[in-house]
Amino acid sequence: MRILEGEGVTKYFGGLSAVSDVDFYVDQGEVVGLIGPNGAGKTTLFNLISAALVPKPGIIKFKGRDITGMKPHAICRLGIARTFQTVKIFANLPVFSNVRVGSLFGASKKTSPAETGKTTAELLEFVGLSNVSNIPAKDLTLANQKRLEVARALATKPELLLLDELMAGLNQTEVTQAMDLLKQIRGEGITVIMIEHVMKAIMNVCDRIIVLHHGQKIAEGTPQEIATSKKVIEVYLGEQTNAGS
């Protein structure tokens, strides 16, 4: 089943087209990778899906329903959650409260305070932040702040999760941990679209990859197809890459 569809999605910033006439779809339960050089329009596409920006022209459908032009909070309550390329945490609030916000406001169903507390605690356990739940979020390491964003997004009980460079700036061990986390999220049946530059992660985890370049979709396919696509190698991966290893 198509959980997300975009038709002719376009966004101009002044005269510059950040995303131009992109058609895409995501099936339920899939993990889709979104790759491309810097400035290709990947984050803009995320902003369009999560309603931080409105496509013009273009239509975005979630579970068959046209969601173009809805407000970010409404999109979130519908079941699309996201994280940010540069972490956007509630820096001075405790880690626990960060996640609680998502649980209190993002879920479509109303929950009792006790339930919210329970969900929050479980999610902190899930991402491995239980032992730091009382410290201000700003005191976490970057890797943990990114985990916190994931937990906050998951607290809204999403069906579709948009992960914007979850692994950027993390060291080798942290990347491995993040990949494990990703596999667990997928195990929960949540559909994921991820922007990532860490090729190892993309090739390992994704079912399908979409490649953007200058705002346009230039390729789409399984990791194997993408890794061997001449066009993708030319604009993004480069000749020397050992992608897929």
């Binding site: 999560s50 931080a52 407000k71 970010p72 909070h73 409404a74 979130c76 309550r77 959650a81 996201r82 940010f84 956007k88 945490i89 509630f90 820096a91 001075n92 609030l93 405790p94 409260s97 609680r100 916000v101 998502g102 209190l104 406001f105 993002g106 879920a107 009382n134 410290i135 201000p136 906050r152 997004a153 607290a155 809204t156």
Partner: protein, 316 residues
Amino acid sequence: MDVSGINSKKLITPGIFIVVLALLAALPFYASLYGVVLITSILMYIILTVSWTIFSGTTGYLSLATAAFFGVGIYTSAILAGQIPIVIVVILGGLVSFGVAALVGALTLRLKGVYFAMFTLGLVELIKHSLIWYEIKFTGTRGRFVIVVDNETIFWIMLGIFAVLLITTYIIRNSKYGLALQAIGEQEEAAAHSGVNVTMLKVVTFAISALFMGAAGAIMATRWTYIDPGIAFNINLSFLPVLMAIFGGMTQLFGPFLGATIIAYLEEILLTKFPYYYMLIFGVILSIVILYLPQGISGLVQKFWRRFPGGKSANT
């Protein structure tokens, strides 16, 4: 955060409020007239400061529109007082301010940082000059007389507004909306993407804070007996609540109270004892607090509280 700290705080804080309110309510029976009038002024400053803090203290949107909403209350009272019971006038004053703030908020709360602050400051002047124009053009006068109400009644109504404000603040702070307001102050975009209806929440909170400012203005007008747009829309009343909140510290519920009480009392004392040096002394004290007590007076109180073996609210 220490869990036992929260629980004991949850019981102690309302307890203290009830005792203080009861003591204050009986004030006209044991205090002098001067005392009643002084406490009325202090209460007015507390109301302005605490209601300012509800919105600006949490979201970080610096509103300088306090004088505008206070003035709207004053004019509501000037027009209506004497025709209907004063309590209703006060409620209407609050509601009119609520309406103005909701309208203004819906239009301007997309502005960020200094732009929002400048707009709200401009709002005070805008309403003031529109009123001057209206009064001269249509009523042919500049000022209005307001029906006189006795000091005890003014005091009790002010105390009533104060009590309702306290309850409202307490409820907001302990509700999920209090957390959402803090989240907006920390990272508005992330709050929106976590399901918080940021526009709605900002506008409603802004309007609630204006409700109390307007109500306070409506009752205060009856003490001044004569008002004109210059008196009603006094720009000082936009800045004083900000100073009082900073002075008291905004991280604790009692911070703005402390700030407003101390500064209002200080102003009264300095103004009567040292009329010529009043502003100078006032400025020095304020500078010292801002330089050396970034968390305000309440931060200092907390620091001492933590040293007590019993004061287990020490966190961080």
